[in-house]
Amino acid sequence: MSLYYVQKLIYQINRDENIRRRFDENFNDLLVDYELSDEEIHALKKPDIGLLYVLGVNGQLLMHYAPLFGIEWFDYLAAMKQGIEEHGPVRAGLYAMTGGGKSFAKENE
């Protein structure tokens, strides 16, 4: 359930100028406003893109979050793959509903 708050935080950083400013100025202070577990806070702050993916964050949100930390596109894609290897299948959200978020490229090509 707290996947909701992880996604909400990223959504608001992406779309709300005021929240984005608070992210830039004092991320710790912003984090307090959301209901997050220690694992989620760790993943958000590092950031551990692979773990965020495994926690269930939608790529349409996550792909805007990675560049805020200077993570380039191909590193972003690699981080998701590595997340699955390290932490196992996606646990919640869109990808968990539909096959665990594993790469299907090999099976289909």
């Binding site: 959504y11 996550l62 539909t98």
Partner: protein, 276 residues
């Protein structure tokens, strides 16, 4: 005949944002695709529409899981977009005219059968602005946006997208305005996931064939699991095609498809349907 045009098109942000990254050998394919998009614009203009209803699948621009509607229709005076960075998307920020009075009539009629949300403010993301960039490049045609939830599960059921299309058509037939209907999204693609860039050419061919043959039974037979596995997260956007197909109630009479522009990260698709 107030529904004067029905068609679908891709909306991937790479289509405008990465046009300079197409490799030299594929430039002629890119330009052919753009030419076909412009042909679609001419088709639409020749039907002299009073408004364009764009059925899209947005990507957490306006809608989030704090209040995620299955269907939502815009009812604003104007719409701003793109919400994304202008340079990243290759489209300058602009204001697009709406028609709130027509929206209100449509919404009041639709909500007799489909429980759609309405929105008096809406910022267009690439799901709408990429199609508009090609189809009404002067942004002088009033637009009414529609969203179907293809992003946050539980997703809108496919058969409800079909019923929504039928109700849209019935509603269009009640108003005097000439309406062009455009669905945007799909077909298979894996945006922002580990398989980003992949296209399932066979799956696209199968679905597009169903679409062009007005095979609504086929189009609504996919499970989300199946779609995700074979067609990626982007495949969920077939809902917009289903709605347009049900509204037009006819087969395709013109289309374009290429999987030869991988930097756009989607099988680039354009199609027009006959209106029956």
């Amino acid at each position: 005949m107030p529904l004067v045009y029905a068609g679908v098109c891709s909306h991937a942000p790479g289509i405008t944002g990465r046009k300079h990254l197409v490799d030299q050998a594929s430039l002629s394919i890119r330009d052919e695709f753009y030419k076909k998009f412009d042909e679609m614009r001419q088709q639409i203009e020749s039907t002299r529409p009073d408004a364009m209803v764009v059925v899209a699948a947005e990507h957490f621009a306006n809608f989030f899981m704090d209040n995620m509607p299955a269907f939502c229709m815009g009812m604003a005076d104007f719409y701003d977009g793109p919400i994304e960075d202008e340079k990243w998307l290759g489209i300058a920020k602009t204001r697009i005219p709406g028609n709130p009075e027509l929206s209100l009539r449509l919404i009041k009629s639709i909500m007799q059968e489909v429980d759609l949300a309405y929105a008096q403010e809406w910022k267009f993301d690439h799901g709408i602005i990429v199609p508009l960039h090609f189809l009404t490049p002067k942004y002088n045609l009033p637009v009414i946006p529609v969203n179907i939830n293809c992003q946050g599960p539980p997703l809108t059921p496919l058969h409800r997208a079909k019923i929504f299309g039928e109700v849209l058509r019935r509603t269009f037939d009640e108003v005097p305005e000439r309406i062009a209907l455009i669905g945007t999204g799909g077909i298979s693609h894996w945006p922002c996931t580990p398989d980003s860039g992949k296209i399932n050419h066979d799956w696209d061919a199968r679905f597009l064939n169903q679409f062009l043959n007005h095979d609504l039974k086929g189009m609504t037979s996919y499970s989300d699991e199946e779609t995700y596995t074979e067609a990626g997260q982007g495949g969920f956007e077939i809902r917009t095609f289903i709605t347009v197909s049900a509204a037009a109630n006819g087969p395709g009479d013109w289309h374009y498809y290429t999987a030869e522009l991988p930097v756009f990260a989607v099988g680039c698709t354009l199609a027009r349907l006959m209106i029956n």
